[in-house]
Symmetry: C2
């Protein structure tokens, strides 16, 4: 099924076929140049659509039938509803009821709320998932229970795959907090407001058929037009597309852990000492508890030194909005809106701009925004002594996280990964990551509570912090210290069966996830 | 060269090949359904572009060379600079200097300022033009002096042709009033501000290579991002891209001619009597002198009756802006910004929305905005007794105008063409139009200073104005009256040589323009 296995440029054995399709093993950074042309979806005529612009149909089932739902199709969804999504599961409930089999679910991410999908994986409605599998679905897949092989991509990689025709979406189902009957839609208004809808841009541009599902149908014309009705086939009105408190969830709280706060402080101090925080600098800090703390430290440093940032990118939170409104940041380039304050900010702040994955992350475009970001703060489940990072599996081999924008933002000018030296007495820094999601050449600094390791390739950074009182150490020293405390970690027990492939931003295969031995 | 000649569904003899490419004769309204997939331009990698996002090169010549300018390429430009365009001629000046031959110029429209292009048509730099040829270029082509055959398309037809891959743009050159070094650009700010840049949307999305030329280079990020830098190869900074007073020109003055004012008043009264002007109605009136007068009459009727329009679409002018600011119109859906007041309005009025040709006019999209417009006011050089319209040639056969959005807006709910019964003693209503640009089935009402003819197909409209004191007459009566005054018009003296083809909105050939006998 998976062709032959070959060793790729980062020494991982990967298949040459996935789900019966040829794939290219990772060739090394910047080594794979794309050939051919972007994908073009089928052409339709406006005569096939209602002249009054009213594309509303009675139900999701009717819409799916109208769009020709049938065996083997690829159905895409976005994750702007996050853990409050009430639409994705419904699609497969309908499909299962209709007896449609072997679908591919192609979400931009999945959440614990998607656990019911396991039922449709079990009854044959869904063959496999291509996309992040956070939590329960990841566990299910890790245990080898999914029929086909999963494919994990970064946000930018997902755009690339759609654009380049590696994944052809038959039906895109777009949950939209506000829509008009023509299908012009946005995420900024309505009871299920989620902010931007940038993850759905590729879907609605390149899918054969597009269904907008909304719980806030307004009169034409709907502005802003994040989703352009000219691409939309049907609009479905439902009671609720999401659970508001889970859409803009409470995950965005600053850490209170003393260790994490220390890591955050060390990260910010490193950036200050290394001259990364300068007037007009640009940053992407993320929305985890430690990341938020780092953002806060940045904010303090900026105020102290009278420094203004050009833009903050990635996910937006109330903390970034505060910086914008205080004039510390000129723009928020928002690819994902994490809390209600940020949703409101989009409505009121002209400097709070909704951007798309194409703008920020597409590796197969004529440049993108990430390479212009001065400092990117990322997480990881594991880092190895070659600075390679893992974000999808835990050290026991279970795949519990998606890649998100992680691979894409590795192209920032300074990539810093603040991590605890160990979690639950399992070292984070190790000889070899369980799954290699990004090559160490792109990771510049690892910050732990017990020291900071700078990638030896970054002699410029090492020079800049030389003489500072920062606890600069080698990555090997950090690893040794972790092992001294926790003991040498055991290798996970894994089968040979591949349950998922991890794609690099250029569409090549950088690693695989294997079935856990149970 | 042009294959064999066949008669199409509107009785015009058209070729089956143009410039060596197969074409499809017009099959009748809604009869041609597209097959296949949209075009996808070549894929590039972000590694091929500067990581600092700075794509600025020293000159247009350098940019064209970098983009591989060579023989036979198709070079596109937009016409948002209108008669003040300082960029288009420069491209071919460079090409001519470099000895590049047989280019195709693919502008969204041309203006008198493009007369120097004749030099490059003569020296072989340009083989032919695909696009509107207003004024001098049209005259040149009409006299058979262009090597290849011209192809005329509506604004929407141009988008369709690009999207469907009928025209593959090798290099799009986009004059942009404001741009950042990454190529994000807009038309709203800068010394050459022109409003929206909607005509360039298809170009920058589907072209192989894209060059942005600006006289207002600002720091990244440039907002609004009408042009998305991820599609852009190079940015060129020049002193001036346009002559401001000719970009937002003085063409937008209300007519003072008593006859035209009468026509305008009759048109507005017809709309009122026929119940077209109702609360929440939508309209597109255009920017000619008579059209502006009609808009003014609409405005008065609306104020008198306390009526509010949902949107005004098409070109925006100070008069429409006034309606918006008075609260008579909820939205302006702006596809072209005709005067400085409108440019300023985009900056200050949230209800003044920049829309693209894709939104408004693309016939091969999943519906578009035109079918939702209650009343469309259009012009014509000739109308025949079958209500067929001509907008590109004069009655002497000279091709002096482009199609613009004319064909596209024929799909509005009520299409009204106000025209004088004769111009320079040449009847406008005739037995047969010199060039058939739009089928009479789509034209509902002809308003002249001596009477109003309603298309007999529109019995509903005829019923509504029955009993009013409007001068309703048959189109034959109007024709006869014109001929009584001016005499029976002579047929133009035309050669058999085809100088240009006129495409319908679906890409089929509806008519041809023949060489004038000189």
């Amino acid at each position: 099924m998976n062709g032959k296995m070959v060793e790729n440029a980062v020494g991982r054995r990967v298949p040459t076929q996935i789900n019966g399709e040829e794939v290219i093993p990772f060739k090394g950074l910047g080594k794979h140049l794309p050939k051919g042309n972007r994908y073009g979806p089928p052409i339709y005529s406006s005569t096939q659509y209602p002249p009054d612009g009213n594309k509303v149909v009675g139900s999701l089932e009717e819409a799916l039938k109208k769009c020709g739902l049938s065996h083997g199709m690829t159905i895409s969804t976005h994750h702007h509803m996050r853990d409050g999504d009430l639409v994705s599961n419904e699609i497969f409930k309908v499909a299962s009821k209709l007896g449609v089999k072997d679908l591919v679910w192609f979400p931009s991410a999945s959440f614990p709320c998607h656990e019911p999908i396991t039922e449709y994986l079990e009854d044959g409605t869904i063959d496999h998932i291509e996309g992040s599998m956070n939590g329960p679905l990841g566990r299910f897949v890790s245990e080898g229970k999914m029929k086909g092989t999963g494919v994990l991509r970064s946000h930018g990689g997902r755009y690339q795959a759609i654009q380049d025709g590696e994944v052809k979406i038959d039906i895109a189902v777009i949950a939209a907090p506000t829509s008009d009957p023509f299908g012009n839609a946005n995420g900024v208004y309505g009871p299920s407001a989620c902010g931007g809808l940038g993850y759905a841009l590729a879907d609605h541009t390149y899918a054969d058929r597009v269904i907008v599902v909304t719980d806030n149908l307004i009169e034409f014309p709907c502005f802003p037009m994040h989703i352009v009705g000219n691409y939309v086939d049907c609009v479905v009105e439902v009671d609720r597309i999401g659970i508001p408190e889970k859409i803009v969830s409470g995950t965005t709280r600053i850490t209170r852990s003393p260790d994490r706060l220390l890591i955050a402080e060390l990260t910010a101090r490193f950036c200050e000492e290394a001259g990364i925080i300068h007037d007009g600098f640009t940053f992407q800090t993320g929305a985890g508890g430690t990341s938020l703390a780092i953002g806060n430290f940045f904010h303090k440093i900026m105020k102290k030194n009278g420094i203004k940032a050009k833009f903050a990118s990635g996910g937006s939170t109330q903390f970034i909005v505060e910086m914008l409104e205080e004039g510390c940041v000129d723009y928020i380039l928002d690819a994902q809106t994490f809390d209600l304050e940020s949703v409101k900010s989009i409505r009121r702040n002209p400097g709070h701009k909704v951007t798309s994955i194409f703008n920020c992350y597409d590796y197969h475009s004529k440049g993108n925004f990430t390479t212009m970001i001065d400092v990117v703060i990322l997480g990881a489940t594991e880092i190895d002594v070659g600075f390679n990072g893992n974000v999808v599996t835990h050290s026991d081999g279970y795949m519990l996280h998606g890649i998100g924008g992680w691979q894409n933002t590795l192209f920032g000018k300074n990539v810093i990964i603040p991590v605890p030296l160990f979690r639950d007495r399992i070292p984070v820094i190790r000889d070899r990551v369980t799954t290699l999601c990004g090559p160490g050449e792109l990771v510049d600094v690892i910050v732990t509570e017990r020291g900071i390791a700078v990638n030896p390739r970054r002699t410029d950074l090492l020079d800049k912090v030389k003489g500072s009182d920062l606890p600069i150490r080698s990555i090997e020293e950090l690893k040794d210290e972790a092992e001294k405390i926790c003991g040498k970690p055991r290798e996970p027990e894994l089968d040979d069966d591949i349950v998922a492939a991890v794609k690099w931003v250029d569409g090549t295969v950088i690693d695989v996830v294997k079935k856990v031995g149970i």
